[in-house]
Point group: C3
Chain length 155, copies 3
């Protein structure tokens, strides 16, 4: 039974592991910045704020990615998850820059979360269609989703 | 295999999606309040604090709701999740009110989380009973849980 | 179908429930400390900071534990989770101590998270081996993991 389960989630697990490693990287940055200076500086404040904003959005991201992967297909969900992690890395690095630089806002990766959210809705809608009408458009939907996930690469 | 999985979790996925939309609503409120005034005001502080308290409790809520839904039955768990989201909305709106108003405390929705927690415990206990004694009270338990979830509506 | 699912996750659910109870304990401490004094004191600041650090790491812990339990075996994952909760309790209590005492850093439980992370990687690697070569080392891997989890007890 295990192999059946792992077959459908191993890409999601991989993305989760990468996100955990990224979290550890962020936490190490915070710890290093906090311990190097005794007086809290603006650099420490910025790193701490960036880490907090990233952590605030982390459960939301995990929940949406796993729901999308379970309801529809794991490959586009994992791909969108990877893109999200890249965006988050850019956001964190951008926050650590100089103050003169335009600081990023509170939110990031809105487009990717919206894409994953619509994947969930399509998956549930497809399930209800199958249940009540017996017609299955799942293959078409998966093809369209796979093609649409390529659009996320456009900046 | 997918349809089998989706059949047992689609209500939970729906509640998760609604909670994600609510999170986005909270985050938009914080961003709007933060960008409109350059000087951090008490209104911004209050919104930020309310958002933080909600986000602190969010992973706990998700974990308990999914465990309850997987161990016992998804319908009462999803219903309790909806009630929790309504309570959270009230909490957030109440936090944004005037300072003269009685500010809500740090925690909220204790009763609902307690209900979900006891659902988990009942589910695991039921599984252990089935495993070691072979007697299955699952149907009775599900009926009782469904009836008990209506009690949550009482304020 | 439910019994099959619950059989493979019930230990993970139990550890999740214990962690939720611990979260509630932390939140009660914060609420009690915040309401007892009107003027924010250093004790309140410390409790709040400890709670925040614990909550920051909580989604990461949950994600890694569940992935490890699903990919490989639930028993070592749940055991490592219990150890993590003990470490977290010690961390929280240590934070509430006197200021003269050496305050703990930002991170804790690094070794346990690393152990769970490597469990995930071993599980996925094992799945890929089975898929492409047809050889299954899962039993050996599970024995080794079970033995290695005992090493976590060494302080």
């Amino acid at each position: 039974m295990y192999s059946v389960v792992v077959e459908h989630i191993y890409l999601l697990v991989l993305v989760t592991l990468i996100s955990v490693l990224q979290n550890a990287f962020f936490a190490l940055k915070v710890e290093k910045e906090g311990s190097s200076q005794n007086i809290p500086t603006s650099a420490f404040e910025r790193v701490r704020c960036a880490n907090r904003n990233c952590m605030d959005a982390y459960p939301t991201f995990l929940a949406v990615m796993w729901c999308a992967g379970l309801c529809l297909n794991q490959a586009p969900a994992a791909f969108a998850g990877i893109i999200y992690l890249v965006v988050r890395q850019k956001y964190f690095v951008g926050y650590m820059g100089q103050t003169s630089q335009s600081t990023p806002g509170y939110m990031f990766g809105k487009r990717i979360l919206f894409f994953l959210l619509s994947m969930c809705i399509v998956g549930i809608f497809n399930y209800l269609l199958v249940r009540f009408y017996g017609s299955d458009y799942k293959e078409y939907v998966e093809t369209i989703t796979g093609a649409a996930s390529a659009l996320l690469l456009i900046p």
